[in-house]
Amino acid sequence: MKTNISLIYTLLLAMILTACVKDKSNDGFLDINTILISDSTAPKSLLQFDTLKINPAIAQLHGSGESDLAFEWSLHQNDVTDPYPIFILDSTRNLRKNIDVRPGIYRVVYKVTVKSTGVTYFHFFPLTVINRFSEGWLTLEEENGGGDLSIILPTDTVFHHIFSSINPEVNISNPVQVDVSNSYGVKKLYLFTKNNGLELDYTEMVKVSDYTSWFWETPVAFQPQLYKRISDGTSFIINNGLFNVRVEGGFPGDVKYMNALPYPDNKGDNYFLAPLVAVGPQPYTGGKSPYTAIIFDTRSKGFVYLSGASLVASFASFGAPAAGSAFDMRNIGMDMVSMDEGNVRFQHNAVFKDAGGEYYLYQFDANSNNASMSKQLITDDAPELKGAAKIVSSKTLQQMYFVNNGNIYLYDIPSGKARVIYTLAGGETVTYLTCTTKSLLVATWNGTAGKVYNHSISPLGDFAATKSFTGFGKIVSMVNKIP
């Protein structure tokens, strides 16, 4: 017992003696180089695909050399939850980087690490990436065996390959049409190819869906020729010659494209429509006629209309022509070459070709119950029209523009005369032509590259000025995208 007590005393004595030894464990600590990051150069918002430039100021407690500092710039998206995307931008002192992320709300994180101590400092910059492509002319092109979109901004800046950069996994070979739609304020963007249809997010242009989810009964063969929205509630696709319409508004449940409408006069699906449409007044907008859309059947070689008077969209036949009518809408008897709205709303210029190759201009008014207006042979006084395939109408004058033999012609309807107003560059052919109230847009292809010419139109219909844009593929369709 006595031995044990002695042992305890010895241990206590040893502890007391060692407890007061000076602690020297922090002798190796380095003095912290405190860093203060400040900035007045970072923008709060940036257009998508623009270069983000930030030159922050760095103040250090010890010295001003930055060789001991490591940098990292990253972009964190704040308006999504799962997944939470982080994009590493660069490892430079200052940032100068093209921002190609989707539009949204982000935070730029600037990370500065003192290499010798491993201490890291952060600075945060809020950043809103704004849709670069909210407005401009979208062009749909064949390119490298596939397809792509470009956009010509109102500033005349052109961005190419925007579809493939946003949707790298989606192939749009054999493109047919690009179009936008607005249904009760909801804007949509559509692409059509030889055997597919895609809906893209209007803002981000990301693929949303394809045609297989658009129909109550998916067509056995999907070969879209024309998509068109004619009102808030009505849009249609001419697919393989047949007319599939989608009607929405005011009723419950999902809305999809219907099965093909039957042709009047008990023809069922025995028809094949031309991929052109004349749009008339809509039934709920105070229109005068029942002709919400007028379409041409290539088999019966006559017009039919989409009735605006019915609850369910239906085709209906035009009535027999009234006395003194210029022609019978039901029986044109020729092949359609072109159809476009003219200089008066709802009045259309349709050009037909007879068996001998002569061209006739039929004018009709979709806003009049007695639609037919005039009919005239136009290749007698304007033989330049013979063989022309691309013909569009002026929106301001009784004129038409057409392309033939490397020239752009202006055809004056009242006088029946045509004249050359522009000569294409050698080797160029026109792949797409459209006319607005201000300009004629001409897309060309020279065998290797595509160009767009924007010819502004003078008050007399001539070209006042021309802008050209390069770097395209073979353009097959264009549409003006509005914000």
Binding site: F215, W216, E217, R246, V247, E248, F251, P252, G253, D254, V255, K256, Y257, M258, N259, A260, L261, P262, N266, K267, G268, D269, S310, L311, V312, A313, S314, A316
Partner: protein, 235 residues
């Protein structure tokens, strides 16, 4: 102490001597039997309707899954599947069933029952109650897996909401019109109460107008049970 030690040695010796006794193998020695093999995907009954089939379909096949207990045989073995007296379906008229056989060397079979589209199915449901009986080759198997019921019909019931907007779309109801629609669409969901959506009614109308024209081009007008020509409205 010496006695305890001796007893312990004796016990150990006993354990060692018993440990090496040859065990008799347990062998299955029951008579071979057969039963309907039922799972969630292989239920014990089928209700079949020709209504959703095109007119060209006059028969279809339902497969019965059977399994045996015991060993596979060296020869084909016949299964005795009987039609119970309570059945309303008639062999040769509403169904046909070839002799079911468990092939040599196998433990199961998928045997067909061919159901037939008979005119009297348009207004009635016919039921066949099958049960397994003993046969010279195979006995009845598990008692709760010996029966199978097949009901076959070709009739429709008027949807409760075939009025108002539905009647505006499709016109007046008739059983023949209803039958025509279902056979072309492959579904009985033709009105909102039966599963179609409003926009879909418009689509169905377009399809019916086209399909009726095609039908009439081959067969002439379609006349309903009231002697009226079937039509779909243009609205």
């Amino acid at each position: 102490m010496k006695t305890k030690l001796l007893l312990l040695i004796a016990a150990v010796v006993l354990v060692f001597t018993q440990a090496c006794t040859k065990e008799d193998r347990l062998m299955y020695d029951q008579e071979p039997s057969v039963y309907f093999y039922k799972q969630i995907v292989n239920p014990d009954s089928v209700n079949y309707s020709f209504v959703v089939k095109p007119d060209s379909v006059t028969q279809d096949t339902i497969w019965l899954n059977l399994r045996i207990t015991g060993k596979a045989g060296n020869t084909d073995r016949k299964i005795n599947i009987q039609l119970d007296d309570s059945s309303t379906a008639t062999a040769g008229k509403h169904f046909m069933m070839p002799q079911a056989v468990i092939a040599a060397g196998t433990y199961s079979v998928r045997t067909p029952v061919i159901i037939l589209r008979s005119p009297d199915e348009k207004d009635s449901v016919f039921t066949a109650y099958f049960s397994i009986g003993d046969s010279p080759d195979l006995q009845k198997g598990y008692s709760d897996k010996l029966s199978y019921k097949i009901s076959v019909t070709d009739q429709l019931v008027k949807p409760s909401d075939w009025n108002g907007i539905t009647e505006l779309f499709y016109g007046s109801y008739s059983k023949v019109k209803h039958q025509f629609m279902v056979s072309r669409l492959g579904t009985t969901a033709v009105t909102m109460s039966t599963g179609a959506q409003f926009s879909e009614l418009m689509s169905i109308l377009q399809k019916m107008r086209v399909d009726l024209l095609k039908y009439e081009a081959i067969n002439g007008p379609l006349i309903d049970e009231n002697g009226t020509r079937v039509t779909f409205p243009v609205i």
